[in-house]
Structures are given as C-alpha cells and as structure tokens.
C-alpha cells in the first residue's frame, strides 16, 4: 500500500507547476554554477601556480649557503580545490596568504584578489543552491501535503480505508524525498559533467567519495525541510496559511539567522584588537631586552654574536618564542570568535549543512586553521633539515635561531655556509584531510542534522496522528 501512496505522491508532484519551475530553476543554476566555476578555477589555478613558482624560485635563490636558507621568508597561497564546486566556503574573503620563515609566521592575511568594489556574495556553488534554493523547493513541495488533501477531501477517503496513518505519512515523506531527488541529482550530474569535461580539473577517487558524502549530506539536510513542511501542513487546515508560516520559518532559518553570525560573534565573543596584540609583542620583546643578562653575559649587547654566541642565540630565540606564543594565542582567539558565531547560528540547519560540507570539501575557516598547523609542522621539518645539514659542517657553531639581520647570518658562522642542493630542501605542500578524518570532524554536524530530522519527524508524526481529517 505504501508503494501506491509513494507512486501517487510522485505522480502528483511531477505533473505540478511548482515541480516544473523548480526543475528549471535548479538545473539552470547548477549548470551556470558549473560553467562559471570552470572559468574561475582556471584563473585561480594560474594565479596559484604563478605565485607558488615565485616562492620556489626565491627559495632556490637562497640555497647558495645554508645560513641563507634560514633567513628565507616563504609565502604560501591557498591552493584552489576542485571540490570548491561543492562548497566554496567564502574563500574569496578568507585569508589566503601565509608568510613565514623557519622560526616565525605572520597571521594569515587576506590579499583580496577579489574586487573590493563588488559586494560580498556567495558563489553559486552546490551548497548555495541546495541550502537556499532546493530547501525552498522542498517546502514548496510539501506545504500542502496534508492540509491540501484535507481540502480536496481525499484524506478522509484514504483514511476510510484500512491504511494506518503512519504509512500515509511515510509514503508522503518518501514520495517527496524521491521527487526532490530528481531535480537535485540531475542538477548535480550536469554540474559534474561540466566540471569533469574540463580537462584541467581531475577528481581522484578520494574526492569522488567526498562528493558522494556531500550529496548524502544534502539529502539529510533537505529531509529536514520536507519533514518540517509536512509538520506545519499537518498543523494547519488551509494550505495558504501553512505556506505563510513555512515561508517565515524558512526566511528565519536560512536567511536571517546565518546573517546574524557575525554580529553575534562580535558582540558575545570580544577579542582584543590586532594593534593590542602587536603592542603585547613589542612589550614582551622589550622585557626580554631589558633582562637580556639572564641569557648569559653580553647576550643583549650590539655585538653579542662576537662576545657570547650561545647566549645571543638564546636571547634571540627567546624573542622569537615570545612573539610566536602571542601570535599563536591571538590566532586561537580569532578562531574562537569565528567558532562562537558558528555555534550560535547552529539553530539554523543551513549553517550546519554548510559547515559540514565545507569540512568534507576541505575549504573554509577550518582549512585556514589547518593550513597554519601544517605550516608549523613544515617549519619543524625544515629546521630539522637545516640541523642535519649543519651537523655535517665542522666549522659551524651549530646555533640555529632567527638571525637579527642578514649581515649577522653571513658573518657569524653560527650556521654552516655550505651550498645546499635545492632538490633536497623540503618544500611546503598543502595536504588534504582524508575522508575518514573529515568525517570525524563533521560527526557532530551530521548528528545535529539527524537530530533535526528526528525531531521534525516525531513532531509531524504526533501531529498527524491527532490531525482532524474531516
């Protein structure tokens, strides 16, 4: 019997105007998004490789002497990802330039390559289309699923038979899910065809699995709206009023709550201004300068590298450590503030879905944080490399720390001045998380989405059981 209901529901939807309109809208959005993405990705890849090669050639220029390598400042950019077609994660406006030397790193910067004259808007990626447009279509499909049948009188008729109410509800739910799957899947496939047919983008097996996960997440997300549509429709007796209520709920959940994230983060989680952080750094360094004697006699003197090299090394390392600790702390505070915004906006399934897909696709805020982490790891391996090379040179003092100036590096012999083979120098490469790891990160989000589903299902079940079908 449940099959009959599902079949009936699907047929009803397929013939309706709203389905036609949604199909048209969704497919055209996915297709446009795909085409635009290809062009944008090409541009970004060119920029990325140009910048990366520039960085590598500057690294190569520093391989004449080992000490030069230690003073070399590297600049790394975010690599454009093919999975940004699924979730772009507002990367246009997020920091994309990471500058560091083996000892220190700067806070990531926004070298906005995007046009500052344009207003901030999201790209037309899958997450935008699904979280905004398809969720809206989900409501359009289901807002009259109960009360509409009541109005036409078919609900009475159906329940006059021996079919239990939960089967009706389940049938309606599955019917709606299958119906919404048609435009969604066809849109996704079109978008993928557009992207894959473009040669420069290759998607490996791991990424296909990630795409699949995002698709499953999308269904989980849309199911919330289908269930809430059924729920509201089983509370009201007129389709029009159910529509109005659903619309307002949708505007609230999908548009307004996410928009307040920034405000909430700024109001409830205040962090010190960047100037204060910089002041703290200079204060800490000043303190170290004043107490330079504790690192050894003459550590802070202007030619300490002649008088007492180990003390000077300790002294300069202490400065670097102080700077790193404070910068690190500040980055944590920044991340904390962004997280607060996210936590507060978690009432909105759109934000949860967006965050989960971003994590799976490996983009967004968490990628920036992860990149910082990877850079720190790279710094360690870089220093390890320098140390191992330095150990081979008997003339060197084996004191590895940030030199106060290039002149000191050159004249002091703290580090070997042998030539280094560029091929052996470790180079930074951004690593993506494996699917398993990113799933682990999104487990809470998936749980929350499932919880939303459960709540709305239970609510619609109860309210439909008590629904007056007359």
């Amino acid at each position: 019997m449940i099959r009959n209901i599902i079949g009936k529901e699907i047929l009803k939807y397929l013939l309706s105007l709203r389905f036609m309109l949604s199909l048209l809208l969704i497919i055209s959005l996915f297709a446009t998004g795909g085409f635009m993405f290809v062009g944008k990705h090409r541009q970004e890849s060119n920029d990325y490789w140009r910048d990366t090669n520039r960085n590598l050639s500057s690294l190569r220029e520093h391989t004449n002497h080992l000490y030069e390598l230690v003073t070399c400042r590297q600049v790394v950019w975010r690599r454009p990802k093919p999975l940004s077609i699924c979730a772009e994660g507002f990367e246009n406006t997020l920091p994309d330039r990471f500058s560091f030397d083996p000892f220190t790193w700067d806070l990531p910067e926004v070298r906005s390559r995007s046009n500052f004259l344009l207003p901030h808007f999201s790209d037309i990626d899958w997450v935008f289309t699904i979280s905004l447009i398809v969720s809206f279509v989900a409501l359009l499909l289901t807002y009259d699923s109960i009360c509409g049948e009541k109005q036409t009188g078919t609900l009475r008729l159906m329940l006059a038979g021996s079919i239990p109410r939960h089967k009706v509800l389940l049938g309606k739910y599955i019917g709606a899910m299958l119906t919404i799957g048609i435009p969604l899947l066809s849109g996704l496939i079109i978008s993928l065809i557009v992207v894959v047919s473009y040669r420069a983008i290759n998607i490996d097996t791991g990424q296909w699995f990630k795409i699949l996960t995002i698709v499953l997440l999308s269904f989980l997300y849309l199911s919330i709206f289908i269930l809430s549509g059924i729920f509201i429709s089983s509370l009201s007796h007129k389709p029009a009023s159910s529509m109005v209520v659903l619309l307002l709920v949708w505007v609230g959940l999908v548009i307004l709550i996410p928009s307040f994230g920034r405000i909430i983060a700024g109001t409830f989680h205040k962090i010190p201004a960047r100037v204060d952080m910089e002041n703290r750094v200079s204060e800490a360094i000043k303190q170290i300068r004043e107490n330079s004697e504790k690192f050894g006699p003459g550590a802070g003197s202007w030619n300490s590298y002649n008088d007492n090299p180990p003390a000077a090394a300790k002294y300069y390392s202490a400065q670097v450590n102080a700077r790193n600790t404070i910068t690190d702390e500040y980055l944590q505070q920044m991340v904390g503030q962004a997280k607060t915004g996210r936590y507060f906006t978690c009432i909105s399934p759109a934000i949860i879905y967006q965050r989960a897909s971003e994590t799976i696709a490996g983009v967004g805020v968490y990628r920036v944080v992860d990149l910082c982490r990877q850079i720190k790891r790279y710094q360690e391996s870089f220093k390890e490399f320098v140390r191992s090379r330095d150990a081979e040179d008997p003339d060197s003092l084996h004191l590895l720390f940030q030199f106060p100036s290039d002149w000191v590096a050159e004249n002091w012999h703290a580090i070997s001045d042998e030539r280094v083979d560029f091929d052996h120098v470790p180079k930074f490469q951004e690593r993506d998380l494996a699917l398993g790891q990113s799933l682990k990160l999104t487990i809470w989000d998936i749980g929350l989405l499932a919880l939303f589903n459960l709540v709305f299902f239970a609510a619609s079940f109860i309210s439909f059981l008590r629904y007056d079908v007359r």
Binding site: T32, T93, D123, D144, A273, A338
Partner: protein, 533 residues
C-alpha cells in the same frame, strides 16, 4: 466606492495572520539590526578619532618639509547605519605620498581585525527591507484576485455597476494602507533608536535623505505589489499564484545578486594586483636609476660625516650638523629628485588607473546584470543615497588626489624643493665648513680636516676627539616644529541634500518607477480581461 474596497481590503489584511507575523518580524528584526549598526558606527567613530588624532600629530610635529606627508582620515558615514554599501570593503585612511598617487584607502574597515569572520554575511536595515518587505508585499497581493474568485465574491462585485479599474485601484490602495504602517513603523523605530544614541548627529540633509529613503522603500514595495497583482491576475488559483510569486521573489532577491557578482568575477577578468605591483616596482627602479645617474655627476662633498641624519621611504630625510658642501650636495639632489618623483607618480598613476578601471569594469558588468532585479536596483539607489556606494568612494578618492596636487603646487610655488628647509631645520647661516667643524668639535686639537684625518688613519678611525665639544644647533630637537598654518589642509566637503545624486541615481529611480508602471499597466490589462467566473 473606491474607498470602500480599499477599506475592506485593509480590514481583511489587518486581521490576517500574515499581517501579524510580518509586523512581529519587523518589530524584532529592525531594532536588532539598527542597534547593531549603531554599535558598529560607534566603534568606527572611536577608530576614526584615534586615527584623526594620529594624523593631526604627524602633521603637527614636522621639522622639515620632506617629512610633511599628511594623512587624510575619512569620518564614518552616519547614514551607513541604514545601508553599509561597500563601506565595509574600503578603508578610511589615505596617506599622501609624493611618489605615488593614492589608489586605495587603508585602515581598519578595509582589514577587519578578524578576517575569519568574513565567512558570515552581515545584514543592514536596507537588506531587511529588501528581503522581508518584498516578501510581505507579495504575500499581501498574491491572492488579490484569485481568492475573491475562489470565494465567488469577485463575481458578486462585478455583477454590480462597479468598474474593474476601481476594484484594482481599491485593492492596491488597500495593500498600501496595510503596508504603510509597517514601513512607517520601521522607520520611526529606527529614528527613535538613532535619536536615542548620543554619538550620532545627523545633519538636516541627512534627515532629508532618510525621508527620501522612506519614499524609495515605498516605491520598492510598489514594484513588488504590482508584480504580485500581475501574477494574481494571470492565474486562476491562489496556490499556483503564491508559488509563482515566490519563485520570482527568490530569483530577484537571492539568485540575481549572487549570480551577477559570480558571473562578473568569472567572465570579466581583472588585472592582477601583483602585476600592478611589479609594474610599479619597475618604475621605482627606473626612477632610482635616473637619480643615481644624476647623483654621479654631482661633485662629492668635502666631508661625508654627519651628526644627525634620518631617512625614510618616499624621499623623507632630515639632517643637521653637516658641512656646508654636504648640505649643498643634498639640496642639489633634492632639486633633481623631488620633481622627478612627482613625475614618476604620474607615470605610475597610468598603471594604477588601468588597474582601477579593470576593477570598475567588472563592477559595472555585475551591476548591469543585477539591474534585472528590482531589489538590487533598490539596494544600489539606497547605497548612493546613504553615500556608501562606489561613486561616493570615488568622489572621496578624487578629492584626496586633488588635495595631493594642491600640496605639491604649494611646495613648488614656494620653491621648497630647492630650499634647505626641505631637509634640514638648520638655518643656512649656521652651516660650517669641514675645517671649522673639526676645530670646534676637537676643542682646537686639530685645525683642519686633513690634520684630523691623518691622526685618525693611524688610530683606527677613532671618533673620540670629535666628541669633545658639541656644536649647538646640530640636533633636531633644538629646532621648533615648522609653522604649517599656510599649508593646504584637506577639507571634507559638506554635501547638501542631493549632492552627488546626479544622473545615475535619477536613472535608477526612474528605472524603478518605470518598472512599477509597466507592471501596473500589465496587471491592469490582465485584470480587465480576467475571467471572473
């Protein structure tokens, strides 16, 4: 009769759930956003005061003209509380350099303290109006004809001697009467909040602009009311009508703006900022080479020693206590380099202008596409009314550039580039020859530079004998700051009510009016031919 219909519509709407919900939504959203934006304005104002004080200090404490590099600080725009426009993307501080024309503004607004928060959208008063009010306008009109047709009252009405246009006009009036209190309420509420906060002062012109904003909002609703009416008169059932209305709403309010920006970004390429930087670096090198070439031709000063000498980028240099010939040497350098620096700034500007133009073309392209949507038209018009649009930013930057020209003209007119006061606070009469300096500083131990040099050569170039006696007037601190009262200062132009709102603004407003008239005409035609049975 018209009034009766309007009144009936009004009363019907008033008791409906949509009115109550819409009203409550505004009651909650408007104060929240306005308060947040007021808070934002306050913090911008605080930053502005600090920046302004810094800029004034750096203008005040100048001892030589080469260090005169004023900074222009733009006060935050109070009307930005209503519509932020691009004010979040651009900074508020512009430093005036000789070697480069100002391209961007920098400062807090341009670089948010926490860039990780950029992953959230921010919302302002005009956004709420654009999103929520357009939705309300459609919700109130989608069933204007279809409901009455479904209930059968339309037949009844038209069986009397009532003309169709009166019914339509009555309905429009009814919806207006319903929506007017909500809009008015939004504006009054935000006005009260603004009046209540102590840090904001609006000029009479600003209040005029807010009133214009109010009328613009009404115009914006009119467009959506007519869209709703048109759809309602074309369709037979309310359900189809609301679905079509909502599709239009989603398309206009969400899809078009995003799509426009996205399309512009991927179809219209902009020059890369890095390339611009490389171009500028090349010109800098060229400039430096030319200078170096010229410097080689100059005869070297008799003694390179200087007691106080500080320098910085953009030709900033201050020195005191040198020999007469060295002072003259530097003066000749500046006579050549500074006018050349200004010329090179013009050369650099060609590159910068090309870059800015490419950005502007991209923006124009996005704007052209986004004009399909009335809500984008509305947003753009509001931004220019609130002086937070791109054109206002351009006007500000133009004024800053003109100010730079004024400043350079001032320096040229007074021959400051070729005078000693450009780089030394020391009066010309007190310049000494190398021998004199050596004699005084060594307390008579050596009489000439040659004598000292002979001695020093044997003693590892020790400076000790030169430290015996100080010469007064060779440290910067001994001189007062320059009197800069005649140097031109940047004046923010006080704008009257309609300043800056020229053709573009009027075109867009006319666009909104034309769109609403067209929709009205179409709905009128369609209602005349509506099958009321």
């Amino acid at each position: 009769m018209l009034w009766k219909i309007a009144k009936k519509e009004f009363l019907l709407n008033l008791v409906s759930a949509r009115f109550v919900i819409g009203f409550l939504l505004c009651l909650f959203l408007i104060p929240f956003t306005v308060m947040v934006n007021i808070d934002d304005y306050d913090s911008r104002m605080r930053v502005y005061r600090v920046d302004k004080a810094n800029a004034e200090n750096s203008f005040k404490y100048v001892r030589v003209y080469s260090y005169l590099r004023p900074e222009v600080v733009k006060p935050p725009e109070p009307l930005g509380i209503f519509c932020r426009g691009i004010s979040g993307n651009v900074g508020s501080r512009v430093k005036i350099w000789l070697g480069e024309k100002p391209l961007f503004a920098t400062g807090k607004a341009a670089i948010h303290d926490n860039p990780l928060l950029n992953s959230f959208f921010s919302i302002d008063f005009i956004d709420i109006i654009a999103i929520v009010m357009s939705l309300l306008a459609l919700i109130f009109t989608y069933d204007a004809c279809t409901r009455e047709k479904e209930e059968g009252t339309l037949k009844l009405q038209l069986s009397n001697s009532l003309s169709r246009h009166k019914i339509l006009l009555g309905k429009v009036l009814g919806v207006y009467l319903t929506i007017l209190p909500i809009v008015l309420f939004c504006y009054i509420l935000s006005t009260i909040l603004i009046l209540h906060s102590p840090n904001i002062s609006f000029s009479a012109g600003d209040w005029g602009r807010i009133i214009l904003l109010f009328f613009l909002s009404l115009l914006y609703f009119t467009v959506f009311i007519f869209i709703g009416l048109l759809i309602s008169t074309r369709l037979k059932s309310s359900i189809t009508s609301i679905i079509v209305c909502l599709f239009f709403w989603v398309f206009f309010v969400f899809i078009v703006p995003n799509l426009a920006v996205y399309m512009a970004e991927s179809l219209k390429k902009v020059q890369s900022y890095d390339n611009l930087q490389y171009g500028l670096q090349d010109l800098n090198k060229e400039f430096q080479n030319k200078c170096d070439e010229y410097y080689k031709k100059l005869e070297t000063p008799d003694w390179g020693m200087n007691w106080n000498h500080t320098w910085d980028t953009d030709g900033r240099r201050i020195l005191a206590g040198c020999t007469k010939s060295k002072m003259e040497h530097w003066r000749k350098k500046f006579v050549f380099s500074e006018p050349l620096r200004v010329d090179y700034a013009d050369k650099k500007w060609n590159l910068q202008k090309a870059y800015l133009d490419s950005l502007d073309q991209q923006r124009n392209f996005a704007e052209m596409i986004s004009l399909i949507s009335p809500s984008e038209m509305f947003r753009l018009v509001c931004a220019s009314l609130c002086r937070t649009d791109v054109a206002s930013h351009y006007r500000f930057m133009d004024r800053v550039r003109r100010y730079r020209d004024e400043l350079i003209d001032f320096l040229r007119d007074r021959n400051i580039f070729s005078s000693f006061i450009y780089f030394t606070p020391q009066p010309q009469e007190t310049f000494m020859s190398a021998d004199e300096i050596v004699r005084i500083r060594t307390g008579g131990e050596f009489n000439t530079l040659q004598e000292y040099n002979q001695w020093a050569k044997a003693h590892n170039w020790s400076l000790a004998p030169l430290r015996k006696v100080d010469i007064t007037g060779t440290t910067f601190g001994e001189y007062p700051f320059l009197d800069l009262s005649d140097v031109p200062v940047f004046r923010g132009k006080s704008e009257n009510l309609l300043a800056g709102l020229k053709q573009v603004f009027l075109k867009k407003v006319a666009g909104l009016i034309i769109v609403s008239v067209i929709f009205f005409y179409l709905s009128f035609l369609s209602f005349l031919r509506y099958d009321v049975r």
